[in-house]
């Protein structure tokens, strides 16, 4: 049995990672949560994992729990990960993401723990990408465009530094956009899916509010992404950084059209200025060739499947809410 600590366990990715590890078998899971965390993503897993109360921004908590658990693998997913929130709350973002990771690393050092650590970075680190710079490889320049993205680059650089300075066994992943059932409604695909499900249920007039439809993004299914995270620790090389992506980019407007086609109801589209971001990145398409070479990973779930599953997730949620009232 390998002992696994997942920070950010109650989040979207954390919940899918835990599910996947439990399905794989052989992993004893410790899920870090804060007492105020919403547990709705993980209620179905609570009897199969150890819930550990702790905030990564608290050095004492991290020291004690790392020492007590002594995990073999640490998946460090906990972060303030919503870009728009980082605009009006840059300090909270930087504190959670940078201070939190330092606390984790220093806890591992103090415990003199030989474990593998995965740091969940993201494609937002690349930031401003020019059309002639795609597909994005790990050597692309980092031009972060939001306080969140700066904090993620900082996490990335910090992880590299701790490998060099203290020989911590850290693998960094840069996951491009990922979505699927349970994705928070503030994220674009889930937001569209929710709006459409509400229209279908007659809870909302047949109008969808959207931001910039012309941006393109490289989307993967979260279930492929978490498979990649495990492979990163099983086969990834210490100190390396890897892109995890499908290698295909899709226009946000085309995602919307796909979802609307699945809805089977006529829906009109309305641009909402509040959804436009101060610095939007026009195009993101990555290459995961490096990760594939070291681990054999690639995406397997077709995007249409992900969208169908996401739409059905919202349909079920809305139906369940209706039955409850």
């Amino acid at each position: 049995m390998k002992k696994v600590l997942i920070t950010g366990f109650t989040g979207f990715v954390g919940s899918h990672l835990a599910e996947y590890l439990l399905a794989e078998g052989g992993y004893e899971i410790f899920g870090l949560y804060r007492w105020r965390s919403r547990l709705e993503n993980v209620t179905h897993l609570l009897d199969q994992v150890h819930l550990v109360d702790g905030d990564i921004t608290d050095a004492h908590a991290m020291l004690k729990l790392v020492q007590k658990i002594r995990p073999d693998y640490i998946f460090h997913l906990a972060a303030q990960s919503y870009v728009p929130a980082s605009w009006h709350g840059p300090d909270a973002t930087v504190t959670t993401n940078v201070r939190g990771q330092i606390n984790l690393f220093e806890a591992v050092r103090s415990a003199e723990l030989a474990c593998r650590i995965q740091i969940a970075g993201g494609s937002e680190e690349y930031g401003l990408v020019y059309p002639d710079e795609v597909p994005i490889t790990e050597d692309n320049p980092l031009r972060p465009l939001s306080p969140y993205a700066v904090s993620k680059v900082t996490q990335d650089l910090l992880a590299f530094q701790y490998v060099q300075s203290y020989d911590l066994d850290i693998v960094r992943t840069r996951g491009f956009n990922h979505t699927g059932p349970r994705r928070g409604e503030v994220f674009v695909c889930s937001n569209f899916a929710r709006q459409i499900a509400e229209v279908e249920a007659g809870l909302h007039p047949p109008v969808i509010k959207v931001g910039n439809l012309d941006a393109t993004r490289d989307f993967s299914d979260v279930r492929d992404m978490v498979r990649g995270y495990l492979l990163a620790l099983q086969k990834g090389k210490k100190g390396e950084v890897y892109n995890l992506c499908s290698g295909r980019d899709i226009r946000i407007g085309d995602i919307l059209d796909q979802l609307i086609a699945m809805a089977g109801v006529a829906i009109t589209i309305e641009e909402d200025p509040d959804r436009l971001r101060p610095s939007d990145v026009p195009i993101l398409r990555g290459s995961s060739a490096k990760f594939h070479a070291d681990t054999g990973w690639q995406t397997t779930i077709p995007f249409s499947q992900t969208m169908e599953d996401l739409l059905n997730y919202w349909r079920e949620r809305i139906q369940a809410a209706g039955q409850g009232s």
Partner: protein, 343 residues
């Protein structure tokens, strides 16, 4: 755009600020400084070339410092309080802010990463947000100071230019990379007029003993005064670095405020490689006693950079800047200053 306000310097009581403020005053500029004074400590009687004169009667909380060149006012404050920073900038309406405040020791950053990030990244964030809160026409030009430590180790022999990948190997280097990226992001997102600099190693009189050449100088002077055995403790002497006189760096800062392009990064460097060993030999030649060398493992860092030499083409093309001072002379002057301090 002509502005009524003074020039603001953060980290005003520090080493580099002492030289920058000297140059600013010599040019007839009005200067107001911010500097963190540790709780329970009094503002220092001497800060670099400046002597404490007393309270500033016209500015409550301000402390007056002066030298032969002129006087300026220091407000004891770090960059931890965003509201206070905003009020400060609104009150003073500076034309320019030279942001020198930092935890600036790579060696210190290894055992103190949180403090390093709080100061360098957190403090910078507060400053950027305070500037962002000002109406567009009231925003000062910000000169941010990064570090060559941001580059980390790269292939030897090829001077580092501004587009090289950042691979810092100290928490200090990471914090400065983060600071630089945050500054660039705030420029892109909010059009703040920010110029980012990446100075390579610099030293000179008044540099404190945590840094390598001042540390050697202090040991040499202690030996000359018979206060220590004639052995100097050193760390790794092999790293090849790009050394500058602090006074040349300060000149570059001023030239960039005048002519640099906001949103750009500029190396400040000589392009000449010198090993720490080479610098030590220069100091030992100046020493008045024969001195042996002993390696002290505590002075070696967990991870270091063997080659850190810069490509200064971009700055030279922008302002014509070249280092004017001979580093041999810089080291000699620094040693003489340590001797004077101890006499």
């Amino acid at each position: 755009m002509s502005r009524p306000g003074p020039i603001v310097v953060t980290g005003a009581l520090g080493f580099v600020a002492g030289w920058l403020i000297t140059e600013l005053l010599a040019s007839g500029e009005r200067v107001v400084g911010l500097s963190l004074i540790p709780t329970g400590q009094s503002p220092p009687e001497q800060a670099g070339p400046f002597r404490r004169l007393g309270d500033d009667s016209s500015s409550p909380g301000g402390i007056r410092y002066g030298s032969a060149v002129g006087e300026w006012t220091c407000f004891p404050s770090g960059l931890d309080d965003p509201a206070a920073l905003e009020r400060f900038l609104r009150d003073w309406q500076p034309a320019t802010v030279y942001h020198l405040a930092a935890q600036s020791s790579a060696g210190y950053s290894f055992p103190n990463p949180q403090e390093t990030f709080s100061c360098n990244l957190g403090g910078s964030l507060n400053l950027l947000e305070a500037i962002r809160a000002l109406p567009d026409r009231e925003r000062p030009t910000l000169l941010a100071t990064g570090s060559s430590e941001e580059y980390g180790p790269h292939a030897e022999g090829k001077p580092l230019h501004e587009r090289m990948r950042l691979k810092p190997v100290s928490p200090y280097g990471v914090s400065k990379a983060a600071q630089s990226l945050l500054c660039l992001q705030y420029h892109r997102s909010f059009d703040l007029p920010i110029i980012v600099t990446r100075p390579f190693s610099h030293t000179g009189p008044h540099h404190d003993g945590r840094f390598v050449f001042p540390s050697f100088a202090q040991q040499i002077v202690a030996i000359e005064r018979g206060e220590a055995a004639p052995v100097i403790a050193v760390g790794d002497l092999s790293p090849r670095r790009d050394y500058l006189d602090v006074r040349d760096v300060v000149t570059a800062y001023r030239q960039l405020v005048a002519s640099g392009e906001p949103g750009q990064i500029y190396n400040i460097c000589s392009g000449q490689a010198l090993t720490i060993q080479g610098g030590l030999e220069i100091l030992l030649q100046e020493a008045r006693r024969k001195i042996d060398i002993a390696t002290d493992p505590d002075r070696c860092r967990p991870s270091d950079i063997p080659y850190l030499v810069g490509d200064g083409t971009k700055l030279r093309a922008c302002t014509g800047w070249r280092p004017e001072r001979d580093f041999h002379v810089t080291l000699r002057e620094m040693l003489d200053w340590v001797r004077k301090e101890h006499s």
